[in-house]
Subunit: 337 residues, 2 copies
Amino acid sequence: MAELKQSEIAKLAGVSQATVSRVLKGNPQVNEEMRRRVLAVVQELGYVPDARAQSLRSQRTHLLGLVVHRSPEALAGDPFFSALIAAIIDHASKHDYHLCVDTARTARSQRAIYEELLRTRRVDGLILVESETRDRRIERLSSEGFPFVLIGRYEPEDAIYSVDNDNIGAAYMATEYLIRTGRRRIAYIGGPAGLTVTRDRLQGYKSALEACGIPYDPRLVVFAEFSERSAAGAMTELLSQSPPPDAVIGLDDVIAAGAMREAKRYGLHIPEEIAFIGFNDSPLCRYVEPSLTSIAVDIPTLAGRATETLIALIEGRTPDAPKRQIVPARLVKRESA
Amino acid sequence: MAELKQSEIAKLAGVSQATVSRVLKGNPQVNEEMRRRVLAVVQELGYVPDARAQSLRSQRTHLLGLVVHRSPEALAGDPFFSALIAAIIDHASKHDYHLCVDTARTARSQRAIYEELLRTRRVDGLILVESETRDRRIERLSSEGFPFVLIGRYEPEDAIYSVDNDNIGAAYMATEYLIRTGRRRIAYIGGPAGLTVTRDRLQGYKSALEACGIPYDPRLVVFAEFSERSAAGAMTELLSQSPPPDAVIGLDDVIAAGAMREAKRYGLHIPEEIAFIGFNDSPLCRYVEPSLTSIAVDIPTLAGRATETLIALIEGRTPDAPKRQIVPARLVKRESA
DNA sequence: GCTATAATAGAAATCGTATTCTGAGGGAGC
DNA sequence: GCTCCCTCAGAATACGATTTCTATTATAGC
């Protein structure tokens, strides 16, 4: 298979290379006869333009970058990300964009990745997931006018484009649901304390308590890593209190399930003595015993909004969406609460 | 932030653009004094070369493509893929490569994606996952000499580079383990019949039966989609037989767990009356009741071998690995078997 | 019949970097 | 003092497409 380029096609079709380009780009000022001749050769040889040359010339790579702030190990078992990635690809491909995924485990490599993707113009825009609450790099992206969208929340609210699950509302909903069903000592197991999700859900939790006139007890709030073991540790801590909690909200299904398993080990009856609610509605929920009530994050919508907004920014259109978009979550009731 | 390019740097450093390029590429034939001057300006302005121009000039994009033959919906809940993607990125970044992920749900879009990524030279090489047993496109890639590696198996065995979990061996191990613990009517629930994994594991299953002198009963082999519901349906079919199976091997943890749940609904005791073994050792396994014995696929190794081999191919080195690499799996014993 | 205008296609410039080609200068060797 | 070679840096070219500029031809309008 010979290396094909427009000049070869041009020679074979007996036209200039410029004409080949015009035909392929659908430029209207080209005669029907020429167009036919060129297309015939293109079809015959199966010529496809070189994306690298197009990128350089047009200053567009048609690549979106997804940067995930987690180590490979932490990412490994998480179904949230396969869903997110799949959904982004789905939307991007409709607009003829591709997706480049990078992970940033250490702070140093994070910086490197931003440099690498952005300054080298390797991608046209960035989707950022799971950033810290305040992030110097995000401000730099913003001040340089680089197109990017955050999945998650950022302050100040309308400084940048972001799409977020309604974490505050969702945690409020979960907490209120527990209160309505008679729970009074509701615990919250967060993830790493620096993460925005951890804090937002904590806020929703507190608001619901307050709205229902239940005093906030800081001893009922603990933090864990994204692992079963860490969740179990957090649960042990909670159970050491007297009286122990009668309900637990976990930041994550894995955390909630880990905590629930620990409670079972202590001989507690679920949901009679203690109820559990997780987040993400992962496959896990249907399989644990008792099945886990969970808040379902609407990933396709989240990914869709983020992708569409980003592409609009890249192409210079003003996104027809507010800077901060909030996607509602859904409570999926099962046996654990 | 002005648009920086080598010529600007050159002007400021009082050298030619060629010298700037040489300094940045570490070309040895450049005087120490020049090198210092250039680096000073580069540092000061934070110049980083344009990847698009480099791609065109060097004919290398430093992008690997990962093509997954599944719909976004099917991909959504699957932790296998986040693990795979994370592991590939991890290895690729060590060699200064990035990863572009694409999904191919329909046959038409599959073709389009191959064209798009390969013919446009958007990526330097391809990793393919979950292909069908025989695939016309793979033969084309091969005949065009395009660098690619398959995760999974392909026939003829040594026609292309592939890295595969030892599916035959793993299924053999699972089956033999069940037989050793006294099971006699062992069922197999595969995935879609066209997939190589489905067939390979079936083969391992059959071999183990034969080696242990247990006759093969085709009624004990059924196929399901990658969903809980489909798995439940398959299990119902198996339970309608007399005598029913006393053990089940599922292609997948989700399939195995779905089948197990169905068996519980029928009032069967696990593992006393019927045992279950799944594949992937996903988080799920530790949470189902009873916990699910599973074959752990060594994803980091799988991804690592595939990535290293691909990069070697791209860079024109002969991979120091056989064309067909097999990564051993591990039986993780839990309560269900 | 002559200019004005439109339609169309080729020539040439451009995107930013890597590399080959070329030439200047300096030291070694005789 | 001359050649030869070596080192090094600037000039020029190439990568493959897009787009502007330019030239040709045809048509219209008077």
